[in-house]
């Protein structure tokens, strides 16, 4: 029997315990989320600057500011940081940690101490990755994919980079494990599975991928380290090995990994849109099943990264067919989001803007994904800038924008103040224009035949490259405005508990910022997650 809760004076989670140590040994999911947020943002800025440097080098043919070897190391580190330190952990570690428990009516995650360990593993992995800059022949120059045999032979700091990725993988696994048990065991009374909001559902599908796929890349990376340190030729054809097997093992994780990257972003869009159209999401159950379908089918399409590797024709056809299959649930979601907007009471606020940009950019990314997924077409665009454009559209235009949207959405809940809406919109607009100027030309370049990971290019590729580089500065300006505006928002007006008037538990039943265990008492759920009928009576917006 739960004891009758004594009425408590409101103390927000920042004030519950004070001092640096109380943060470093915290078990509070909200504090851990914030620690992740600052670490992840820091790493993102570093990788973003590496990207700007790459674009600077590519503003014209020939050498601009770095040698080819350095360029290889820059794009490798850019990829490693963006993928392992930003996109994969990003939304689950920050917004999953902060908002999953309140969204399901829970006081914390299932294993709070494990949560803290995940964060420490993240930081250690991140620092280890950055350390490769400091010694020896410098950071790996293999590309973030670390293909054998080059990754086994190159003198750069591959073993450390790969060890960092292994540790980060462990962090990801533990987070996924934590969220799965949390959702199975800690939903509030009355919250059946099909009353659970869609961001938790997205995290649920994501967590299964984190748990089941990550260990495969873990062992693959350990094999690279083993081959480098023990001299065993695991992928050496002269010893009966197969370098293509490395690619198989790598992509058996790394394809599901892209669903780890995008599913949470999709979940955020599903979470934010209803709030700003004051209408339930269209096709809630279908979105749930689509998320699970993407997670499941996603395990079996990895070969589409290997069409030109020398795989058998039979394998290539099978993987192409399966790839088309996995596109269907994603498309379904796009239709559902757009249908949700129809006849809604639309309130144009930054979270909605980012969600709309997500839909637009994810669609472009998804359609170009069909081009690279189609066996015959991919033969022409594999390893060209078309692929680079494609994945930046889904990962940055999709997940990245969703991440920014979520910051703008949960900002008043997390920090208790409100940022300037006008400047947020301006920043968004410039960022949106800049983003598309950077990456759309890449689709054109790929079609024209410019290879990726090339430090130089033929003169006929110059104009699109220039547009892309100028676009990167516009994008940087937009991002700068967004960041400065968010920082200034800390000194903004005090926010009420539910300024967006959402009907989900995280907004209706917690303070801004929330107290230590989120709720005075665990609520009992009777309505669906996006039931906006008569919502004025349920939003509980208190100053």
């Amino acid at each position: 029997m739960t004891a009758i809760p004594q009425p408590r004076e409101y103390v927000n989670f920042y004030d519950a315990k004070k001092g640096l140590m109380s943060w470093l040994v915290t078990h509070d999911h909200k504090r851990i989320a914030l620690m992740y947020f600052y670490a992840i943002s820091g790493f993102f800025i570093v990788a973003f600057c590496l990207g700007l440097l790459m674009r600077l080098e590519l503003i014209a043919p020939g050498r601009q500011l770095m040698d080819p070897q350095i360029y290889n190391q820059v794009f490798t580190l850019h990829g490693v940081i963006m993928i392992f330190l930003f996109i994969i952990p990003g939304i689950p570690a920050v917004f999953g940690n902060f908002s999953l428990p309140p969204l399901i009516g829970a006081p914390d995650v299932a294993f709070p101490k494990l949560n803290l360990i995940s964060w420490y593993l993240y930081v250690i992995g991140g620092l280890l990755a950055l350390s490769t800059l400091m010694f020896g022949d410098g950071p790996a120059d293999t590309g973030w994919t670390f293909y054998a045999p080059y990754s086994v032979k190159t003198g750069t700091n591959v073993s450390i980079a790969v060890l960092a990725a292994f540790i980060l993988g462990f962090s990801s696994i533990l987070t996924g494990l934590n969220f799965l048990v949390t959702m199975h065991r800690m939903r509030a009374p009355g919250m059946t599975w099909f009353k659970m909001p869609l961001f938790p559902w997205a995290l649920y599908a994501t967590s299964w991928i984190q748990v089941l796929a990550t260990p495969v890349v873990g062992i693959t990376l350990l094999m690279i380290i083993a081959e480098r340190t023990l001299g065993i030729g695991l992928f050496d054809p002269a010893l009966g090995g197969d370098p293509v097997l490395y690619q198989h093992l790598f992509w058996i994780y790394s394809h599901p990994a892209v669903y780890i990257m995008v599913l949470p972003g999709m979940g955020l869009v599903s979470e934010m849109i209803p709030v700003f159209v004051k209408k339930s999401i269209f096709g809630y159950k279908v979105i749930v099943y689509s998320s699970l379908a993407i997670a499941f089918i996603g395990y079996f399409v990895w070969g589409h990264h290997m069409y030109t590797s020398g795989m058998s024709g039979e394998a290539r056809i099978i993987f192409s067919v399966l790839t088309f299959l996995v596109s269907i649930p994603s498309a379904i979601k796009v239709f559902n989001w757009v249908s949700t907007l129809y006849k809604g009471s639309i309130d144009v606020k930054p979270p909605l803007l980012y969600s709309l940009a997500f839909i637009f950019q994810f669609t472009i990314g998804g359609l170009t994904g069909l081009v690279v997924g189609a066996l015959a077409a991919d033969i022409h665009v594999h390893d060209t800038y078309f692929v680079v454009g494609h994945f930046h559209y889904v990962m940055f235009g999709g997940t990245g924008f969703a991440f920014l949207g979520a910051i703008h959405f949960w900002y008043p809940k997390i920090w208790g103040t409100m940022y300037n809406i006008k400047w947020a919109n301006i920043g968004f607009a410039i960022l949106f224009v800049g983003f598309n100027l950077v990456y759309f030309p890449m689709l054109v370049l790929g079609m024209m035949g410019m290879p990726r990971r090339y430090y130089d290019y033929l003169p006929e590729f110059t104009l699109p490259n220039q547009i892309s580089t100028w676009g990167s500065w516009i994008m940087a300006l937009g991002l700068l405005i967004v960041i400065v505006n968010l920082i200034n928002g800390r000194k903004g007006p005090r926010a009420s508990t539910n300024p967006w008037k959402s009907v989900t538990l995280d907004w209706t039943h917690t303070d801004s910022p929330p107290s230590l265990y989120n709720f005075d008492e665990i609520p009992t759920v009777t309505r669906g997650p996006y039931d906006y009928r008569d919502y004025e009576n349920y939003i509980k917006d208190k100053p």
């Binding site: 294993f111 199975h184 065991r185 260990p215 495969v216 030729g233 058996i252 265990y517």
Partner: protein, 207 residues
């Protein structure tokens, strides 16, 4: 009890099933971790059938079989230790865990002996005879050392976990009414056993 603890206990409840689910999920990650190596094994054995046959001849079937029996028996003893604790016999439970750990040590001793034999024949990564292995046979031994080596690491980790569990029973934090940590330690140990159940025929029985 401080008001912090009181608030914590009011909001958060001990959940044995949740902890069990968490352990199973962790076991899945271990399965997929070794799974990657089994995938390599499958590909390379398929590509180099005679070489794998030749490599298997070099392994000592008797030691492999004895080790299999050791691990199967250790799985029995840890299962029995749970039964004992469920019946309230903490002493027997602890004794059975210690026997389990003894079997783990015996396994490790055998493994050490096997590897030393290989080392003395130059059949060890980095040594001359190893570098002269033919295509295919090289991969057999790469996988042999990687997979049994990774497995051995898990044997050691499992034994340490069980030591902590035995300590918990002694201290009274693991009891007849709340023994999820013993169950979870047992689950981990059984997984170590299951992995070996597959390793044994795949390495020692290609004769």
């Amino acid at each position: 009890m401080s008001s912090d603890d009181a608030l914590h206990d009011q909001m958060i409840h001990f959940d044995s099933y949740g902890k069990k689910l968490g352990m199973w999920l962790f076991l899945f990650t271990e399965v997929l971790l070794f799974g990657g190596l089994f995938i390599v094994y499958a590909a390379y054995r398929f590509m180099n059938p005679e070489a794998f046959h030749a490599g298997s001849q070099e392994l000592d079937l008797t030691i492999g079989a004895i080790n299999t029996v050791f691990l199967l028996t250790s799985s029995l003893t840890v299962a029995l230790s749970i039964t004992a604790l469920q019946k309230g016999d903490t002493k027997k439970s602890i004794d059975l865990i210690m026997i389990t750990i003894l079997f783990a040590l015996a396994f490790m001793f055998n493994k050490y002996y096997e590897w030393t034999m290989k080392y003395e024949h130059g059949l060890f990564p980095g040594m001359d005879h190893y570098n002269e292995l033919s295509a295919g046979e090289a991969q057999f031994f790469n996988l042999y050392f990687l997979m049994t080596g990774l497995h051995a690491v898990h044997v050691i980790v499992g034994a340490i976990i069980l030591l902590f569990v035995a300590w918990g029973i002694k201290k009274g934090t693991i009891t007849q009414d709340r023994y999820i940590y013993l169950e979870n330690g047992g689950l981990y140990w059984h997984l170590v056993d299951v992995i070996w159940i597959y390793l044994f025929p795949l390495f020692y029985l290609i004769i």
